[in-house]
Amino acid sequence: MIRPFLLLAAAGLLAACAQQPLRGTGDLGVVVERATGSLQIIESSNQSQLARIEGLGDLSHASVVFSRDQRYAYVFGRDGGLTKVDLLRQRIDRRVIQGGNSIGGAISQDGTLIAVGNYEPGGVKVFDAKTLELVADIPATPLADGSRNSRVVGVIDVPGRRFIYSLFDTDETWLLDFSQGNEPQITRFEGIGRQPYDALLTPEGRYYIAGLFGEDGMAKIDLWHPERGVERILDGYGRGQQKLPVYKMPHLEGWTVAGNQTFVPAVGQHRVLVMDSEKWQQTDAIDVAGQPIFVMARPDARQIWVNFAHPDNGKVQVIDSETHEVIADLEPGPAVLHMEFTARGDQLWLSVRDGEEIQVWDPYTLKLLKRLPAQSPSGIFFSSRAHETGL
């Protein structure tokens, strides 16, 4: 009696396997192909490409977050498209056009809400992560002339079903608290500094730090004590130095916090600034090969990888986090746009836009391991981000 049943079950299992071999998603990731509006699904165990998904619209400056089960990628497109991609079935699960012009978003701590920051119409919209139905619409502050609302930058998830972001045009930071339900409580921080362009959250989720484009400095908020307001740090870091034209805005949403030090790009200068992560005071300024864009710490915090704005975007430099010396000058190819470490740091993937490829590097030997073809690749995102706060 038992044997035929087992055979049947085994046959059923085999049939299922033939359809779709069982696999996990912890080693999966996506690469944004920004000019063609497509996405590649990649995996880091064999460093290979699994599929290309098309029809995601305008992916200029697209970014991605992941569901807590690491099965779905949520892609924020420039044209206001929010697309939920099924990494296992390798297809679009759902897609909505939620705004006219967007910049990025975040997923809540409990995985139920997706917040999207929009330039047009300026504000944040929050969606149900399962269905992509609108949950809340929070317009940003209107400009003085009433022509439009402020543009939103640096949308980040904060522990406790909260989101935080800054308003580029009106120099504010807003904290949305959804812990009591889907009608958020809003805390506004005004006068944080001129033109916040992006922000980072420290890995445990305590400090939110917005970079300022309009002045030399950053704005820090202690989320354990929001009542204390904004504290300015790195004030006047470029004093007396001539500002260079900034051809590309730096990014702050990387793992720039390396143990007791935080490394951030100096806007308009060829320098990476180093801060003490407890006192939040500048401890050093490291001269680098161009205007830094991404300043990323290897997950073990021992190295910092930096890429640069045009016209130095063919270079990547590696900094020793202890000595602050540049220990490697790499030239991966034309227009290195983004870098992403695997969760435990055994690999670094980088996109070479004009070389039309993705490269996999061993960040310990500093050797190139693999090149994979891609169409104008920009952002690379591994599903391990699902379990990182603030990414």
């Binding site: 305008d58 992916l59 400056h61 420039r78 012009n101 910049i103 543009r151 051809y247 590309k248």
Partner: protein, 113 residues
């Protein structure tokens, strides 16, 4: 005398037009340079203005968005940037012909539908 004067003036004209040729050529970037500039327009201008020029941190630069804006003021904006905004001056990387070419591409409508 008269004839020789004519010859001289003709020679002068010929010389002048000969001299003009390189100036006229320099006014338009070479095909190779144009390809580079098109790439820059799409990828680097597109970083802020969107790959489809529909705007982002920078305003939209579609043909409709630029309608009625004087060419000279657009050239001045690209050359010197707009103080107080994120728009840098590009004169450190591009020369006058490059900038005029880029502005004309935008006024024609870029990217082409």
């Amino acid at each position: 005398m008269i004839q020789s004067r004519q010859v001289v003036s003709r020679l002068g004209l010929a010389l002048a037009s000969f001299l003009l040729i390189p100036v006229a050529l320099a006014a338009v970037p070479t095909a190779e340079r144009q390809a580079k500039l098109d790439h820059l327009l799409l990828q680097d201008c597109g970083s802020c203005h969107g790959l489809r020029m529909t705007g982002g941190l920078g305003p939209a630069l579609t043909r409709e968005a630029l309608a009625g804006k004087p060419r000279d003021s657009l050239i001045a904006t690209v050359t010197h940037g707009r103080p107080g905004t994120a728009m840098p001056g590009w004169n450190a990387l591009l020369d006058e012909q490059d900038i005029a070419y880029l502005v004309d591409r935008l006024l024609e409508g870029y990217p082409k539908p």
